[in-house]
Symmetry: C2
Subunit: 315 residues, 2 copies
Amino acid sequence: MRRFSHSPPDVTAPFADRLAELVAARRSQIVLGLDPDPARLWPDAVAQAPSDGSAAHRAAGAVRAHCAALIDAAGEACVAVKPQLACFERLGAEGWGALVSTVLYARERGLLVIADGKRGDISVSAAAYTQALVGRTPTPFGEVAGLGVDAFTANPLLGIDSLEPIVAGARAAHAGVFVLVRTSNPGAADVEDLVLAEGGGTVWEHLAAIVARLGAPPSPVSGLSDICAVVGATAPEHVTRMRELMPHTPFLLPGIGAQGGRVEDLSPAFAPGRAGGLVSASRSIASAHESSGAPPADAARAEAERLREAAWSLQ
Amino acid sequence: MRRFSHSPPDVTAPFADRLAELVAARRSQIVLGLDPDPARLWPDAVAQAPSDGSAAHRAAGAVRAHCAALIDAAGEACVAVKPQLACFERLGAEGWGALVSTVLYARERGLLVIADGKRGDISVSAAAYTQALVGRTPTPFGEVAGLGVDAFTANPLLGIDSLEPIVAGARAAHAGVFVLVRTSNPGAADVEDLVLAEGGGTVWEHLAAIVARLGAPPSPVSGLSDICAVVGATAPEHVTRMRELMPHTPFLLPGIGAQGGRVEDLSPAFAPGRAGGLVSASRSIASAHESSGAPPADAARAEAERLREAAWSLQ
């Protein structure tokens, strides 16, 4: 069994440095996606749900148990978890409570948490998202702490002035931001891949330049930026170009497994060091038992460890 | 006093038809933005907060009271409310509870509710947002109802296949989707205004074409589409072009008042009928007392009515 930490990360250091340190300590670049579908939870988690209360209350309890079991099984092979916020929001206030519990559970086990909500808005609304995810909100009754994650995903369509309050709020909390640059779905071709009249680059190359600029300068400790990028692993031919445009930017690479990407295609991502490329996987881990026939926790643990080794061996 | 309805809208009709009917019945195209900042609530609302419990619990109570008072004051001059989700999310599960209460309160007063979260994600995650906002989520303990709003805002950066599950989920619930096309902030120039190599149009014109296609055909009853567009009112020179590209699309026009837009500049929006142009205002209504010196509710009522008359007189 590999060495790994059960203590929460040091949140007084910049996100990029915490990330690099934890990748090295845990020997993992794997981000465990938490996309709980209440209709497809592990059976043991459903059995642990409260026996009474509203459907939302019981389902939120089962979601909480499912995520905890998934973290227990696969977390050791990972450096971070990535809860997908809609999966919790669909259970309303109860779901948000399950999200809070899941964030705490992961952090207590030494994992970073990347909230995946792909938020984007302007001025005070952008700042409000930052308060909700990594900050604090002043009220007449005292400050209210946000979700307290280490990083979160953001959508750049609304431009630089929509990202600036997010970057400022994240930095104040020593948190990271993963900006969407080129996503892993076929529809990325519809907007992100459009070619621009000026310079002949694509929309995603333009977004990459914005991300690089917002993230400069990189930390002198890790050599990495705290403004990171989401780069779909289903288009590996783009990863080299991404790295040229964003030499110091940590990449979050979704699309492995269920979406068809292969970890072996990603080596250019790791040029600035192993923490430069984080490999995100959700269904391929949580649903590994459906193809392997093993118990869910065993199958998840094996698949996460297989991905960890595959990524780690690339550099 | 104008005639207005206190009964919830008929949710068996398509969103576009409900919108058109309610605009005519209430003689209003005004959308009341609900962006509650716990540090800037109306004093009477703060006084109505619970006297004990956590800061989040007390602040959520004050937010609920503030939104209710704002709806009581300004709602009569409006056709819909638009809660900005981050403003509630920053109070965690308590904030989500206040959001649910606020949605119910507005609907009981006959107002449509447009949830402003600017969501966007792929495949099952996009579907999960739809479940959270307008749908239902199957669980082993029974179905869990989502927020139950009439429409919501969505971000199209991830392309058509990210919008399709949202459109499908919204239509199944007779709900509308307001897709971001060209926002009201200066930063809209950074990405949305980029000129494309093919055809010479801009990113936002390309997005407009996608919205028009997803929204076709319009309802034979109202002549409007259920896939709508967010079009910043700070760039009125674009509204004419928007209308050419999206002849049947209802426009949500933020940026009036605090952001500098003028309702008088928007008349091209109303070409397909009054419900074709919804004028959104938040701070200019909720904070009207700060410049007028009148009590907050009186100032909000007067400003909402002023905007209503200004928009209504344009056609």
